[in-house]
Symmetry: C2
Subunit: 652 residues, 2 copies
């Protein structure tokens, strides 16, 4: 579309991209550790030693008393017994002299007797003595000079991350300062005419087409966390010359330049051309997903490496992990940070394109004997998929994907011990689950929730993928909820059905109800566009039940086939004006200031296999269900009724 645009990205395997980058860095002497700078030790916490540190002084610097007591000559104590105590006069020259812990031992002494093992005597001549009832061996209760560190001894190696006790050791052997690696300086240049700062957005709201710029915040925070000093540039509009001048300026003052977005091959993607003009383009397009449109280059003049970082937030953050972190670690002399790994069972089938490594974000929990990894949204624009992720599953580029139930390796973002305190919910979506998660966190439990609809939740229980499933499945034959479904779908799994709450389902419509919708019969109207929930969702079962009662055929409902996966997504579709109404819960309508026409109060239960119901892991959940606090919080939300909360509806 423009002179700078081209439609072709390379698809270079990750290893190959890295080795091109490293070679280029080596060629200009930039694949080395950064030099050291001398810092006062009290500012050196978390920094990395640039050189080995040798003790400047010994510690202790003299033979020191290890106790409060009396310095003595061991030979003077020989023969002292309970029945035949010895008396030693207290004078600075011996045979006994008081010492506090840490005091130097007098030159004439070679042992210390603990004060508790002596008896103090005031002699008649005005002098003082101690009486002792046992002899002591030479060097008793003495810390010899250099016990901890001997001057000239190695105290810390180079490339050592300084912990609190390390700083103590440095001071203890006489170092008031330490040489630590200079922190790498990283420039972060956000580009894009459509970008606005979050401060602007918070102050004046967003116009259509405005995008809040936060990739530079994520990158700057990553750089800081990995030991670098970030410089966040102000947003640069899509202007080739302007971007070029900013990149040039940044290269002079930084060890690394990150240009965010414009790294693809579209009409306003200037980064590759800028890199070509200012230096060498090494790589344009890496065979990973998310994060394909990555640029690796070397800027001439200052020989500053540059990375063009894709614009989608997930791609951006993962590109930071893949390319920026190892480079900073190299410069800082740190080993590459390896994430902890666990083997897990993937909860559903994932197709993956051949030719690209794919990084799938997953939540992870232990369900019974298995560790289960549940994939999150794969959209590169969904930053919350990274926020919620417990780890990453890599599907290598020569694989077409993984089957449900297959064993996969998960690189964890969190401590493996967190897995053991995680409750895994798969099932119907409800806002109260967020509240429950918050209460559980206070009780030391993590709660992960995957939205698969009521029936999807029962299937997950059958596969052993979840600890519990929220469900609100109406049985048209009986008018009851869930019980008949559990009997039908989980005939062999002993479960407990516990009521969580009742909630109002109804038609969500635009403010003021402009189409004058009164009830479900209006869904058959030609001028009413509806949005449905996905197959297996309890809300869809409810809809089908009522449509049949009203004698309305699904094909008569405009939009019956358009499916959304959550109540809020339905509400958004209405808010944006794309459709006129949808069936959902009152809370979702209230959240987006939409109108709500009640249809039915339905029961929402938690289905819990008995083995989990009786486990330690779920005990805090049952405590919350039966206690007053969660009940009070849910009652405060519009459209909820907690009267039956905690009732056991069925035990199978």
């Amino acid at each position: 579309m423009s002179k700078h645009g081209n439609f072709f990205l390379e698809n270079i395997p990750l290893d190959e991209a890295w080795s091109r980058f490293i070679s280029a860095l080596e060629n200009v002497g930039k694949w080395n550790e950064l030099p050291g700078e001398e810092l006062p030790i009290e500012e050196a916490l978390g920094r990395i030693t640039a050189q080995p540190v040798w003790a400047a002084l010994s510690s202790p610097a003299y033979h020191a008393s290890a106790m409060d007591g009396y310095a003595v000559r061991s030979v003077d104590t020989i023969g002292a017994m309970e029945t035949a105590p010895k008396r030693l006069a207290i004078t600075p020259g011996g045979p006994a002299s008081y010492v506090d812990t840490g005091d130097p031992i007098p030159a004439w002494a070679d042992a210390v007797i603990m004060i508790e093992h002596t008896q103090h005597i005031d002699e008649e001549d005005g002098g003082e003595s101690i009486e002792i009832h046992a002899g002591v061996a030479p060097w008793t209760a003495i810390r010899p000079m250099g016990e901890d560190m001997v001057a000239t001894e190695l105290v810390l190696p180079a490339n050592h991350l300084l912990k609190p006790v390390d700083l103590g050791a440095l001071a203890g052997c006489g170092h008031a300062t330490v040489s630590v690696r200079r922190r790498p300086r990283v420039a972060i240049i956000p580009t894009g005419t459509e970008l606005v700062t979050v401060e602007q957005a918070a102050l004046s709201g967003l116009k259509s087409g405005d995008i809040i710029e936060y990739n530079s915040l994520v990158l700057a925070s990553q750089v800081r966390e990995w030991g670098g000093i970030p410089t966040r540039y102000p947003i640069v509009v899509d202007d080739y010359e302007l971007i070029k001048s900013k990149v040039f300026e940044a290269a002079a003052e930084h060890d690394l330049v990150l240009v965010n977005a414009g790294s693809s091959a579209g009409s306003e993607d200037f980064t590759s051309s800028v890199v070509v003009e200012l230096g060498t383009l090494l790589v344009h397009g890496v065979a990973v997903r998310p994060g394909h449109p990555v640029i690796l280059g070397m800027l001439a003049g200052f020989n500053t490496p540059v990375i063009g970082i894709p614009g989608y937030p997930v791609s951006c953050a993962l590109t930071g992990e893949t390319f920026v972190e190892p480079l900073l670690s190299q410069w800082l002399g740190l080993p590459r940070r390896e994430k902890p790994r666990v083997q897990a069972t993937i909860s559903r089938k994932l197709l993956s394109p051949i030719g690209e490594d794919e990084m799938v974000r997953v939540t992870v929990g232990r369900v019974g004997q298995r560790i289960v990894a549940a994939p999150l949204s794969r959209g590169a624009g969904v930053i919350t998929s990274l926020v919620r992720a417990d780890g990453i599953v890599r599907i290598p580029r020569f694989s077409e994907g993984v089957e449900a139930g297959q064993e996969v390796a998960v690189e964890l973002y969190r401590d493996p011990s967190d897995i053991e305190r995680t409750l895994v919910h798969i099932g119907s979506h409800d806002l109260c689950l967020d509240l429950l998660a918050q209460f559980l966190a206070d009780a030391g439990r993590r709660f992960t929730s995957a939205n698969a609809g009521s029936l999807g939740g029962l299937m997950a229980l059958r596969r052993g993928d979840a600890h519990l499933a929220g469900a609100h499945l109406l049985d048209p034959a009986t008018g009851d909820y869930n019980v008949s479904y559990v009997k039908q779908y989980l005939p062999d799994l002993p479960v407990v059905l516990l009521t969580f709450m009742h909630r109002e389902q109804g038609l969500i419509v635009a403010p003021g109800n402009p189409k004058g919708i009164r009830d479900l019969s209006d869904l058959a109207r030609d001028d009413v566009r509806f949005v449905n929930r996905q197959r297996g969702a309890g809300t869809r079962v409810l809809l089908d039940y009522h449509l049949e009662k009203l004698g309305i055929k699904p094909e008569k409902v405009q939009g019956y086939k358009r499916e959304e996966f959550t109540h809020l997504a339905v509400a958004v579709a209405i808010q944006s004006g794309v459709v006129d109404c949808g069936l959902g819960i009152a809370a979702a309508a209230r959240a987006l200031n939409l109108d709500f026409i009640p249809v039915e109060k339905e029961r929402y239960d938690l289905v819990i296999p008995r083995t989990h119901y009786e486990s330690d892991l779920l005990r805090p959940l049952l405590g919350l269900i039966h206690g007053p606090n969660l009940r009070r919080a849910i009652s405060g939300l519009p459209g909820y009724d907690t009267t039956s909360m905690g009732d056991v509806v069925f035990e199978g």
Copy 2:
């Protein structure tokens, strides 16, 4: 000794001490999370949310194009085929309109066609069109409004530690600021007339009796690492009224007061009396070791908790971990930090007193199939035992200790993956091992070394506790080194014997050699005090060999029975004037500016079981032994000869 001193410490079990402390905190409402403070999000990395955060805006805030391409109505594309393309005119009102990734979709459109799937046509009338060769379904290549976050939705729970992507999510849904927990303010008051700052020590050196104060540095760094704001007070001399006034002042302005040292029950231990006078003494003495003389108290007036922290550096640092960290975590709303744990085999017997929990510092490495934990020095004054520690083994107070080979749980200070890259050396001490460790670190390996003497190293190999053992054992019968010992002590273990270097052994004497010692025959002189090495040390074998050759009986040597465990410890004994000479290596003499009388050039080999010799783990070690860099570094040290480095002396 003074009105404030008493000799009695309590011995309160850890659990009981904690529950007294918590009750006291609860009674004054201080066992709660601290309130929040509102921060700009760019300052919030690593802080903890004080409240749940709900989305202020939806993201995307409108239906957005997921690609660079053309917005179209899906109905207009029906029927387009490779053989029957459709042409759509480009105008802002449709049927086709160009959109960049992220642009809003026009109200009339419901899908986007990727630019790569279109052909641009300049019409004869001056207008422009695209030609398409396939139809698209509704919502193709569109990111619906709220795909990532819907306004009002829960984005982050309370008590959440903010990572880089979390800050992105906060900004993405319209938050320019976030409420995070206030950081706890912790006062650290070092007390002691004998204390000097490290700056003083570095500037003017130490007088006898001076102790460098660094506990406050360690505590301040711990507090910072755990999320608090430390205030390091200047050193306070041992003056009851002065300490009292500082504690009172600190209590007014801090959430917690730490008084370092003076927490025991000696003549200058004022802390307990100060706490009694200013508030309530809850605990004075906890049944843990190191760290027994701990004070827990509550200061009246501001209801500020106070902890009296013992003076020995290891006790101090561990008291921080035991009492300060959990309190800060509680105030910050974080779960108690659990260290990663591994099961390991303890490499030697440990006796432990009944009645106290003991925390033993250990190094940890995997040797073959077993993970081996090797105890470090148990002295509470040896800070380097914490610097070198990979973890802690707790011996509970009702146990008398553990047997060698027993399984123990280790709480790790480092990532469990580090264990897999650790080379475990047990054997003879030499300074070159420090150099080797430094080179190995650059090659991605950790090297831990326990000094057990040459024979001790062979025993460790026999038990399977180490990967390699340094040895310099002279066979008096043959004049050769190590081979006959390996045959005798490791008859069934296939090993490779590799020469590391030759080194000069000799008599270390005071500068100027005041006693005029000429050679080993002088050890029989009445006026010469000697210091020996421990049984099993190669240096001791060498001594015994020469004494026999000279016809000198051990009992004729003054100090034959006084044993030190390292060359440097021998040198320190001479430097301090306690003895006149000892047998050791030239480097140790040089390090402490002592004189050296050569006796023999001995061979120092590395004994390596063949399974380890051939393992990936040890490959970098062999690379270093056979390469030029390590050789060059060792040749640069006085008294070393690397001519035979890497020679295979024996394969068994």
